[in-house]
């Protein structure tokens, strides 16, 4: 039996980068205990433990982390374990159900054509943070510039200094993802929750969680289904409680809202790209259920979409002195046009998610301002915006400059561009990107007085429906829909989803922070 001697192991372990994640730590602790095991029985036991806990993941870790410092150490460990067990070499695992990833070699070997940034380094950061390179992170590796700020923000919000403990944060993330019907994020956060030593009993249902956390479910439901309806009374309900333990402090509320809005939008991204469940979760072995697409049934296929898009862009650019359009009317028009209204049987959540949900179906409300532009539900950018109000509130409430990182994330998400639309080169894709974002926000009731909403009707007329679908019912977005988003390549589709995700996050966050103003 090949075993490593003490010195080799010590030198091996000391050559690793310091890492906080418990999984690697426990693996190394195990490996350290191995040579010290005196009896054969104990050795057997340790090996068995290694097998149960780490073997399935070891090969994934190895695959995803080639050419890294960890790699060599993990290889050594693999050799030790191989003496006893067969370690399967993993075939490349697709991160998503919706598309075939053909670029994985370039990513794992650390070269990416369109960007000078190496996504590899960020994978290592992600591995440090969560002891895995999750499919979501892997997929965002196509956009390394965004991935870097995304990981930083994620680290700060989920793992940084805060008034909420880590297990709570992950549980809130589970609640948020479940309310969006996103199985992937729920399973991922469950694994993270267990990693942070959260009580396992909580994962069996909402009845086991503390009352304080249960109170958040109402706000969660409102934020995801109709965020414009969030009012001061909901916050009062969280803050005031006869029992001292159930009271939320303002800082806790703001952080919780940040997590909720973040995970609602992340779920939208995950569902929009159809990410596969992590391989070490028991649910990953189930087959994926595909449902009928709503979009396809309603529209006709259209070719030459990319050229149309670019042509439209040029048309808009050239109209310097366009007619004075009534921005408000356009907005209302855009918000209320073509309601989707899917049949109720489709709104039933996955059985696994039922334990985290209070209600039986994932209801959504589509934003319909009844009084037109003067409806008080509309959130106007001139009156409450991220720049002045949201940023300041986060600055006052959160620690360690969280607001700066969130602001950077929005900024970089806005500026991300590759200079082309599908196969067609295009100098300035800003109109399309801003249009996508504004449309998502418009659907959630955010009104930017400065923006010409007519652009959206002209530019994105082919895409209005899928965007609306992703915004309101991301769990109904199917593979067929994804494929139909022609002519974009799958990396660009991910980009579109990122833009929409950021748009939604900003809108939801502002809705969540707005009632807070009345407390000042």
């Amino acid at each position: 039996m090949q075993t490593m001697n003490q010195d080799q192991l010590t030198s091996l372990l000391s050559s690793m980068q310091p890492t906080r994640n418990s999984k690697l730590d426990s693996l190394f602790a195990l490996m350290q205990a191995l040579p010290k095991a005196e009896t054969a029985d104990e050795k057997e036991r340790l090996f068995a433990e290694a097998h149960d806990k780490f073997l399935p993941e070891l090969s994934t870790m190895l695959y995803r982390l080639k050419n890294s410092n960890y790699d060599k150490s993990l290889e050594e460990i693999k050799k030790v374990l191989e003496s006893k067990y067969m370690i399967p070499t993993r075939e490349y695992d697709q991160p998503s159900n919706f598309f075939q990833d053909t670029k994985h070699d370039t990513i794992t070997q650390g070269t990416h054509a369109s960007d000078s940034l190496d996504p590899y380094d960020f994978f290592l950061d992600a591995f440090d943070m969560e002891s895995r390179v999750s499919n979501l992170v892997y997929m965002l590796g196509y956009h390394p510039k965004f991935l870097s700020i995304f990981l930083e923000a994620h680290k700060r919000i989920m793992y940084g200094n805060s008034v909420l403990s880590q297990s709570w944060r992950h549980y809130i993330a589970i609640m948020a993802a479940a309310s969006q019907g996103c199985l992937y994020l729920v399973t991922l956060e469950e694994l993270n929750f267990l990693n942070c030593k959260g009580p396992v009993l909580w994962l069996e249902g909402l009845e086991n969680i503390p009352t304080k956390l249960k109170k958040l479910q109402e706000v969660n439901r409102i934020l995801v289904s109709a965020p414009w309806k969030l009012e001061k009374k909901h916050i009062t309900q969280l803050v005031d409680d006869p029992v001292a333990e159930n009271r939320w402090s303002f800082q806790q509320i703001v952080h919780a809202f940040l997590i909720l809005s973040r995970y609602h939008s992340l779920s939208q991204l995950a569902l929009g790209c159809g990410i596969k469940i992590e391989s070490d979760h028991p649910l990953s072995k189930e087959s994926v259920i595909t449902s009928k697409s709503i979009w396809i049934s309603k529209a006709f296929p259209d070719m030459n979409v990319a050229e149309n898009l670019v042509a439209n862009l040029k048309k808009i650019d050239s109209e310097i002195n366009c007619h004075e359009t009534d921005v408000e009317k356009e907005f209302i028009n855009l918000a209320t046009r073509d309601p989707i209204k899917p049949p109720p049987e489709l709104l039933v959540p996955h059985p696994y998610l039922r334990r985290y949900l209070c209600e039986k179906c994932l209801l959504r409300e589509e934003f319909t301002p009844e009084e037109g532009i003067n409806d008080e539900l509309i959130c106007r950018a001139s009156e409450y915006n991220w720049l002045e109000h949201g940023y300041t509130l986060l600055q006052n409430m959160c620690q360690d400059s969280t607001e700066k990182i969130v602001d950077d994330e929005f900024q970089i998400g806005d500026d991300l561009t590759y200079g082309k639309v599908g196969p067609v080169a295009c100098d300035n894709t800003q109109e399309i990107r801003v249009g996508l974002k504004r449309y998502t926000q418009c659907l959630l009731g955010h009104f930017y007085e400065d923006y010409k909403y007519k652009n959206i009707t002209e530019l994105l007329k082919d895409f209005r429906l899928p965007i609306k679908l992703i915004t309101y019912y991301p769990f109904l977005f199917t593979r067929a829909d994804f494929e139909r988003l022609n002519p974009f390549e799958y990396t660009e589709k991910i980009h579109i989803n990122i833009i929409m995700m950021e748009g939604r996050q900003k809108a939801e966050l502002l809705y969540a922070l707005r009632p807070y103003r009345e407390y000042s």
Binding site: I373, E376, E388, E449, K452, E518
Partner: protein, 847 residues
Amino acid sequence: MAFYKRQFEVIPKGSFSFKPKSLDYNKSERLVLVAGRKLLKVLTLHGDEFSLHSDLLTKEHESFNCCDAKWSPFADSTLATAEKCSVLIWNLNISQKNKLQREFKAADQRALNKISFSYYKKNVLISGSHDSKIRGFDIHNHKKIFELAYTDEIVRDIQFSPIIENQIGAIYEDGVLAVWDVRRTDQPFLKYQAHTEPAFCLAWHPEQPLIATGGRDRKIRICNIEGCEISCRYTLHAMNNPVARVAWTQQSTNGRTLASISCVGDSFINFWDITKPYSVPFKRSIEQKQFLVDFFCLKSENCDLISCSSSGLVMMHSEHNAVGMNESINGVSLACNNVGVVQHTFSSRTLGIMNASLEDLQENIDRPQWSSFSEYDPTTIRENSPRDRCHSVNIPRDVSYINKLRSPLGALDPLSSSASDNNLSNSNVQCKIQKISDPIRSIYARSIEFVQFAQKYKFSNDSLMELCKHNEELSNRLGREDIGFVWYLCQCLLVDAKKISQGVINLGSKENISSPGGLKGLGKSLDKSIRNPWDIGLESKHIVSKSIPATPHSTSFSFFDSTDLHEQTDLHEKFIHTSNLLASCELEERFESCSPPGRVTDVFSLIKNRDLAWWAQTDMTISNNKLSPSKDTTFQSTTTPKHLISGESGIPENMRKSKTDSQIFPKHPPLNFTPALASITEYLVENGEIQHAVYIYLCLYDKLGKQIDPFVFIHWVSSYIDILQSFNLDLFACKIYKFLHTFQFYQEIRDLEDKENLCTLYDWDNSSCMGSHECKSCEKPVTSAKPCQECNAWPKQLCSICRLPVYGLCTWCKLCQHGGHREHIIDWFKTEQFCPSGCGHKCVIEP
């Protein structure tokens, strides 16, 4: 208290579709304009009361949503509102219901932000919009007169200058303040990066060339325009909230007061005195329930202001009635200093409550008894407490502060300015300090003692013997006999051990030595004499004279009294005496009587009851150092050869015949005090008296150095230097630091530190003028004033005056590490003495 005179609700209650955004005032007709979403009302101001003059919105203006509204300074009834891309001109003189006179487009596609009328030219209006352009229009013929643009950033606020005809001030979203001259449209006349984050508002001073700007970085900057230059004259730190609007108040004729509101976080109007850039506004208006949207200042005698809240409440305030911040500060506070003394401040109105609960507190606090607070007459301690509302018991630890207060010791305070060294030896003072058994006073006394020692200890520039003697005298004078004894032991260290072993001690025949009874008598007189040097009890008035090292001819060793004796020999005698006495534990009683009760550290208590074994320890080091047992041969060499021990044949001739001669011979091998001293210093350090330990090592590092790990020593020295700096005794700290450089191991340690990025002593490296040691962008340690190795960024230091990063000429105080732009610092020190950063340090500017 009713400070606001009148208020007016412009929005029906409960309605959310109306939102005010802008306020303006027409001086001549005393009309207040309130404009916003679905809102355009004019109010009349009669004296103190508001009344509705007119509501300008009719059915045609269903979707009215303006972001800014201004009265024309020339035509009294004309006002302009900015809405989306167009400007609407209204005229109150129009008889029809719809008072809209004309409308024209002021921006191409993006919405407008702000408008402003010219004070000099009739009908000229400028507009700033989201597309970063400032356009000037003639409102009569709608023609665009000029267009100013230089950047892509959104224009957040613009205003014509009230004193110079063609100047426009504009603030952009990236924080840049631009002053334009309308005759030049491609570049602003002056540009200044006023804020690091988005800036929101701008206000010209009505008479002086000053612009105030406020932004999200919570600062208000006041920039001065002199000819062709613009510079930031003052910076105010506006607490926790971004500054949404800023305006100069009526009292600003002497250029000093500014008012501001913030858009989120609080609903006050804050008044600032610009020459006092502290974080607290010096006055505040009363808090409203809703946050404020806009406000402006009336030019009236009463310094009135009118504000409008987001719920539509227009309210009139007066600056005179604004509440000073210090009046509303909660009058209770608690603080604890490094000696462990609690300072408690409370206002008199809470005193009643406090008295009742004092008894409860007394049980729970085992530190200075609360009852002892009542011994102090609070007014003597804080005579200048404002309005006699604060009673605080403050045990100061700062030297200069002590001088300012009347201390509990009154005129006998050794640190008061009238005291001099002579007073110190005044036994009354000593007794008083000694007698202090009250815990607070003893701690107070300890601070004084610490400072005294720090100021007077010597550790260089003299022979080692002199240094030890001086320090011993000092310790005894200051009432620390135990420390004096330690210094005495240090002197014993310096004794040439060889001479002892060779039996140099030869008293010869002295007349006065012979005493009745020969040796026995000697023994007795020895006993007697021994009594004296240790007898420095509290009753004695002659403290100074009786301590051992005072003079070589002290009465204690009267029978050694001879002018022929070399001083060194004296010390040898003493050394052997002491050795014998310590080893035989004969000094216990003396130690007892010398230790005043209540003193925490006492070396005597350490060395009492120590037996020979302790004194005769081998030279194994006591610290964690892995040095091998020291090869110090002091002990070995003083292992007296057998011939010295009495009774044996080894005694040299000249000594042996000495039965009747008064000779001092060691009963035991003369002790080696080196390891004992090391234990003593460790004991001192552990019990909080690091000061003495440090000085002992500084003086005698050559002898004692091997007893201690150099890193530990440096650690001690660093801690001591820290304490000195906290007492503002920087000069002495620097002296010690300089002295350290002479140590041999010092350079090695420095190299090691550089290699491993440690920072034990680096803080006081006089070769760098840096305020901090970490690169601000990547937070890696920076070694000197060079670009950071990791991220290649120049270390960004913030100027203490203007709070902006310093590039170029800068000046830094080496002691307190604060500084900034050279001109600012020089200007500052023309009139001020203390460091501008507020650290209290008296920086010295070299010419």
